[in-house]
């Protein structure tokens, strides 16, 4: 399913990033970081109109030869970026949306933890487990 899931703070530093082939971690870091360009672009292009519609899903940010990078932004400008394998044609927009929603819910749980300082790295085991399930589950 997803090969890389990242949560990025409002200030654009990673709160959480995990990719499944760990050997290629660096590549995904670069990929996710570069995708922030498009995230920024989409957020600013979205402007007021979509903010009012509460549309958090940014859609496909850009495709590469092997992967598709999708984006999502919360109301507090925390970004979620997900990389999926291009060959995985079973993943349609709706599936990606629901995965982001799951991610967002889990992130909200992390934020609700009174012992979590907003802005710190996410080390929640529950969140990690949820991401793992999103990465392993094969459609």
């Amino acid at each position: 399913m997803a090969v890389c899931v990242a949560v990025i703070a409002k200030e654009n530093y990673p709160l959480y990033i995990r990719s499944i082939p760990t050997e290629n971690e660096l590549k995904f870091h670069y990929m996710v970081h570069t995708s922030l360009d498009v995230v920024d672009e989409k957020i600013s292009a979205m402007g007021k109109a979509l903010v009012d519609q509460r549309e958090l899903y940014l859609g496909l940010l850009y495709p590469t030869e092997d992967y598709k990078v999708y984006g999502y932004v919360t109301n507090s400008k925390v970004k979620f970026v997900m990389v999926v394998d291009s060959s995985n044609t079973a993943l349609r927009d709706n599936e990606i949306r629901s995965m982001f929603r799951k991610l967002h819910n889990s992130y909200t749980d992390v934020m609700c933890n009174p012992f979590y300082n907003p802005g710190d790295r996410i080390q929640s085991r529950a969140f990690d487990g949820m991401v793992t399930s999103m990465m392993i589950q094969v459609c």
Binding site: E11, Y13, P14, Y30, H33, L36, E65, T89
Partner: protein, 1139 residues
């Protein structure tokens, strides 16, 4: 084959890899047909319906026709896609049954068997008909028969596997028709086979991929299948496609449109750049030496694979095709094209604000430059990218880019930068231990090199090398005296992976002479709550963006500005002391990691620690210093040196200071207890703070003696010497010598900044008129009712001060010390009467915490009147008086002749603390002098209530009679001679006012309750007053009070004119009221004046004055009497109005 889903507009695809088709049978026939075939086959596009729901594509089919060989057939399990023959065609021109039977059939059978053996089902038999040939032969069967025979023999149910091509080389409509049918068939079969085999290939791939978790899975095998597409060809295709699309767009748009669509096209640019890069690497064009022969072969293959340029672009000067060909042709050309493309991409990314993407392309460029041995060009891009990653806190890209940068800086010979980057990498947790150790060794090897210029040093920021965790001062308050030893213990956390031997660690200290520095530090310490003198430094939050953490923390201080005149607060605020650090311009240059601003402060004050080995993790280093100049020392920088490499922490924050003070010698004298008590020996502690003065043998303190205070000299008295930190050093015998005027205390020798402590006993002698103020003016003690109040409030003891002047050896000036002693007792006296008999009561209150033993109490008449005797009624000679308790003594006064108007007494009692058995000194008794005046009883007042006539008892609600008789007990005495005394014909009288008051509201006084009488000053003269009172309650009721006042005229001149009686009668209510209200407070005298003042304002007339008789002069003989009142039998409600 599945093209990436780029927004590619062309609908029709050409095949860059032609599928292989084998030809068997009549080779000559095929050769003659081939030119037409190869030309005609791709002319018409075919719709390619693909598996897995992929969109159908229109495709031009081309084929690579090869002669059939058995070796060409793929073995079982071969998974290569492109070397695989997709279709096998058998060509024959046979039209003769004989020939067919003799040769063609056998040949066909053989061919079919081979195909079957390899289970290949994609085949086609083409029968070419030639009209010319037909005519030559005589025994010609109808042509259909040969085809039918073949179909019958080989095409079992697949009749379409045999086709007829009629007169292929003629130009007739029949030929054309035949060609079309054949080509359609061929295309269909080709595509079918292609789809089938591709599907199989993909299935194989998928199967292989799914098997990756199985134990025997080989990545190499998978890889070989995956990249069976010849490497590079795909890249070429992508590159060309991208450029084609871009060129097409450029062709139909103007500049403005292109610019506005950069966001959509830049992806293609970067894709093309990436592909060109990988082609360049593939073909060995990105290396210093250039391509080797293998690379060249590959290049040639690739270029050949491109085929000929399409005719529509062949004649243009520039085309993607030409560009690619040129780029792959030489190292230089590749560089030019690659740089052009990269720069264009970077520019476009930058122009639309995709900085991160631009940096990433820049990093590829840097990598290219590094390969090309041009590190100077690479540096800029690496720094740019690194800055970006640092600003946004992306740890892995930071580490990776730093590693590249380190290599670049090393090649450039930027030693300082390289060392700094190395130190950062050596402390980087994201690297392996080996890598970290490598960078650490790089630093160490540089540090161990002998440099040409010995003074040269490389200053690097410390935080990557080691981090300051905490700092601890000993002594904990960080305050030392001049010459004292201060130790500073720091904990630094080494970030290096291996132990590092550091030649020296130094703390640079800034020194300033400041007044009140000690207080400032003390405040600072309490404010920062540095328990045990420990200062903790905040750990650097390295994973977070440096844009936040690299800024120095705010150094905020409170500021109070007070008015110079009255010290009131004018303004208050917060001052930031490092504004210059915070508000400086952010460096826009690339030298983010350059060691700028690492100026080493060269101060005279440096704390050093040499030869330290820092283990990875926390290390403790102790600095010791002997304090020299007094002032405030601020720790500014920390510096660790390894040969020429200096790691510098340029700013120690929070502010850490220590203070050195120089203290004047001091003498402090303070009581051991909360307060000193007068009259008994008390201990006083002497503390000599030596400061900078050394106490020598023979130095002594000279105390000037005070009369009323003795200094007692016990035989064994020891002085204890303490160090400045209150540790006992030694003790010595104290010698105290007293002469008349001076007491001399020899001090033991003590070094500087020590304390000498000893105790002395002092005794304050009670001063003679200890309680002189207590006797009230008129000799009247406080009214009995008030006694309690004074006991409550009179908690504080009377005090006496003694000033002692002490000469100290270190000063020419005397130190004056005031000792305050409290008198432990408070004494009050009162006069008690019983008719004409008089008693004096003395109450001694112990206010202290100690218990005392009182002995030998006496009361003497100081005037020593002969006819007066004081007879003690106290039985015990010794009495214990406990803390906070009182003891009463009573004497009866007896006289024989006329009693004196006043009595002067002195009470004295010996006292000693009850706890102590023996005292070294004899204590003086406690004395109390007082005076009693007007103590002789002049009047006897007697009140009597009798029930109404005819009844036995008083009843509530019924009027009873109150009879008051006032009796004069003596003839004219000295005390009577005052203003109220009137004389007529040797007959003396005085005016008295009586008043009946019932404060407990038991009685209602009916009618006049007060009146003025003229009392003859003669013994046994009696005045009777009768009035009516009504009891309000039943029970034994106390009688109402009858009070007597002396009625004084306002002025003696006016007194005769004024009819006081009539005035009082006229205004009785107002008088009553006033007197009632105010009886309890103040003296009657003052009450009278208030009354008169208030009335005189009304009337404008002078008022007479009232003066209460001293209690000693009037005796109420009916005090305490009670009358039985029984309740009324009537049930009806009694209404009584009381005025």
């Amino acid at each position: 084959m599945d093209a990436p889903e780029e927004p590619l507009p062309p609908v029709i695809y050409t095949m860059e890899n032609k599928p292989i088709v084998t030809c068997a049978g009549d080779q000559n026939l095929f050769t003659s047909i081939y030119p037409t075939l190869s030309q005609q086959l791709p002319r018409e596009p075919m719709e390619w319906r693909r598996s897995y729901g992929r969109a159908p594509k229109m495709i031009h089919l081309e084929s690579n026709f090869v002669q059939f060989k058995e070796e060409l057939l793929p073995k079982e399990g071969n998974k290569a896609l492109l070397t695989f023959p997709f279709l096998h065609i058998y060509w024959t021109e046979c039209c003769d049954t004989e020939v067919y039977k003799a040769t063609v059939k056998d040949d066909l059978t053989k061919w079919q068997n081979v195909l079957k053996a390899y289970s290949s089902v994609d085949w086609l038999i083409v029968v070419v008909e030639n009209d010319a040939k037909k005519k030559n032969k005589t025994n010609i069967l109808p042509r259909a028969s040969i085809v039918d025979k073949i179909r019958n023999d080989f095409c079992n149910k697949q009749s379409d596997r045999c086709v007829v091509l009629s007169d292929p080389l003629k130009d007739s409509s029949r030929t054309q028709e035949s060609w079309n049918a054949f080509l359609t068939k061929l295309r269909t079969l080709l595509l079918m086979s292609f789809t089938k085999n591709l599907g199989k290939f993909e299935d194989d791939m998928r199967t292989l991929r799914e098997k990756r978790t199985e134990p025997g899975w080989s990545f190499c095998e998978y890889f070989m299948v995956q990249v069976s597409v010849p490497p590079g060809a795909l890249d070429c295709w992508v590159f060309l496609s991208c450029l084609e699309v871009l060129q097409r767009i450029e062709g139909c748009c103007d500049r403005a449109q292109i610019d506005s669509n950069i966001a959509h096209t830049v992806g293609l640019w970067s894709y093309a750049t990436e592909k060109l890069k990988s082609l360049g690497y593939l073909c060995g064009l990105v290396s210093e030496k250039g391509p080797n022969s293998e690379d060249l072969n590959r290049t040639v293959d690739l270029l050949a694979g491109l085929g000929a340029e399409r005719p529509e672009t062949a004649n243009t000067a520039q085309s993607p095709y030409k560009k690619l060909k040129e780029a792959l042709s030489s190292v230089e050309a590749f560089e030019k094209h690659y740089l052009d493309l990269s720069h264009a991409t970077i520019e476009m990314f930058t122009s639309i604000g995709r900085i991160r993407s631009a940096k990433l392309v820049g990093k590829d460029l840097a990598e290219f430059y590094m390969r090309k041995k041009s590190p100077q060009k690479a540096e800029m891009y690496l720094q740019g990218a690194l800055k970006n990653y640092l600003a946004e806190g992306w740890a892995l890209p930071i580490t990776h880019t730093r590693k590249q940068l380190a290599e670049c800086q090393k090649r450039l010979g930027q030693i300082e930068n390289y060392l700094q980057t190395s130190s950062l990498l050596a402390s980087d947790q994201h690297l392996t231990t080996d890598e970290r150790e490598y960078f650490c060794r790089e630093i160490l090897s540089f540090a161990s090199q002998q440099t040409d210029s010995p003074g040269h040093r490389v200053a690097l920021p410390m935080h990557s090398f080691a981090q300051l965790r905490d700092l601890r001062f000993t002594p904990a308050n960080a305050v030392v005296h001049v010459g004292g030893v201060l130790s500073v213990e720091i904990t630094v956390c080494s970030q290096m992976p291996v132990p590092i031997h550091v030649e020296q660690i130094a703390i640079h200290v800034h020194f300033s002479i400041e007044k009140n520095s000690y207080r400032k530090t003390a405040e600072w310490l309490t404010k920062h709550k540095t328990a045990n003198g420990v200062v903790n430094f905040p750990a650097e939050a390295s994973p977070f963006p440096t844009s936040q953490s690299s800024l120095p923390a705010l150094e905020l201080y409170e500021m109070f500005e007070r008015s110079p005149s009255d010290n009131s607060l004018n303004t208050t605020g917060i001052i930031c002391k490092n504004v210059h650090m915070l508000l400086r311009r952010q460096e826009s240059s690339t030298s983010l990691e350059a060691s700028s601003g690492l100026a080493l402060e060269d101060g005279a004050h440096v704390l050093r620690c040499a030869g330290v080995t820092l283990q990875p993790g926390p290390n403790t280093i102790v600095f010791r210093t002997q304090a020299r100049e007094p002032g405030t020392y601020t720790l500014r920088q920390l510096c660790a040196s390894l040969g020429p490499v200096w790691f510098v922490l340029p700013h120690i924050y929070p502010l850490v200071q220590y203070d050195v003070y120089s203290q004047e010698p001091q003498l402090l004298v303070e009581p051991l207890a909360d307060s000193l008590l007068a009259g008994i020996p008390q201990k006083v502690k002497f503390t000599v703070t030596t400061g900078h003065y050394t106490v020598k043998n023979g130095d002594s303190l000279q105390l000037s003696n005070v009369d009323a205070m003795l200094i007692l000299c016990p035989e064994e008295n020891r002085a204890v010497i303490y160090s400045n930190t209150r540790e006992k050093v030694s003790d010595a015998l104290l010698r105290v010598q007293s002469s008349d005027k001076v007491t001399s205390i020899s001090l033991p020798a003590a070094p500087t900044y020590h304390l000498i402590e000893f105790e002395l006993e002092v005794l304050s002698l009670p001063s003679a008129p200890a309680a002189g103020g207590e006797s009230t003016l008129l000799g009247v003690t406080e009214p009995h009712g008030k006694h309690k109040d004074t006991q409550k409030t009179g908690h504080c003891m009377a005090t006496t001060d003694h000033k002692v002047s002490i000469d100290c050896p270190w000063s020419i000036y005397s130190t004056v010390i005031a000792l305050t002693f409290s008198v432990p007792f408070r004494t009050t006296h009162s006069l008690l009467s019983s008719g004409t008999r008089k008693y004096v009561q003395v109450c001694v209150q112990n206010l202290s915490e100690l218990d005392f033993q009182l002995s030998d109490s006496r009361l003497v008449d100081t005037h020593d009147s002969t006819d007066l005797r004081l007879i003690p009624l106290n039985t015990e000679s010794e009495q214990c008086i406990h803390s906070r308790q009182a003891v009463f003594f009573v004497w009866e006064l007896k006289w024989t002749q006329e009693p004196p108007p006043s009595l002067h007494c002195r009470f004295s009692t010996g006292f000693s603390p009850a706890s102590e058995e023996q005292l070294s000194v004899s204590l003086k008794p406690y004395t109390y002098e007082f005076q009693v005046e007007n103590f002789f009883t002049l009047y006897n007042v007697r009140a009597e209530i009798s029930p109404p006539p005819g009844t036995e008892h008083c009843r509530t609600g019924s009027l009873c009679s109150l009879d008051v008789s006032i009796t004069r007990l003596s003839d004219l005495l000295e005390v009577d001679k005052d203003e109220a005394l009137m004389e007529s014909d040797e007959y003396f009288s005085t005016k008295l006012m009586y008043e009946v008051v019932d404060n407990s509201s038991n009685w209602a006084v009916c009618g006049k309750s007060s009146g003025v009488i003229s009392m003859p000053v003669t013994a046994q003269a009696t005045h009777r007053v009768h009035m009516e009172v009504m009891p309000l309650f039943a029970g034994y009721l106390p009688l109402p009070d009858v009070r007597l006042f002396k009625y004084l005229p306002h002025h003696s001149a006016q007194s005769s004119q004024l009819d006081a009686d009539s005035w009082i009668e006229n205004d009785s209510l107002s008088v009553d009221k006033h007197v009632d209200d105010q009886l309890d407070s103040g003296s009657v005298k003052s009450r009278g004046s208030v009354h008169s003042a208030a009335s005189s304002e009304h009337k404008g007339l002078p008022m007479p004055r009232l003066r209460a008789l001293p209690p000693g002069q009037a005796f109420n003989s009916s005090a305490g009497t009670q009358v039985l009142v029984i309740p009324s039998k009537d049930d009806h409600v009694l209404e009584v109005s009381v005025t």
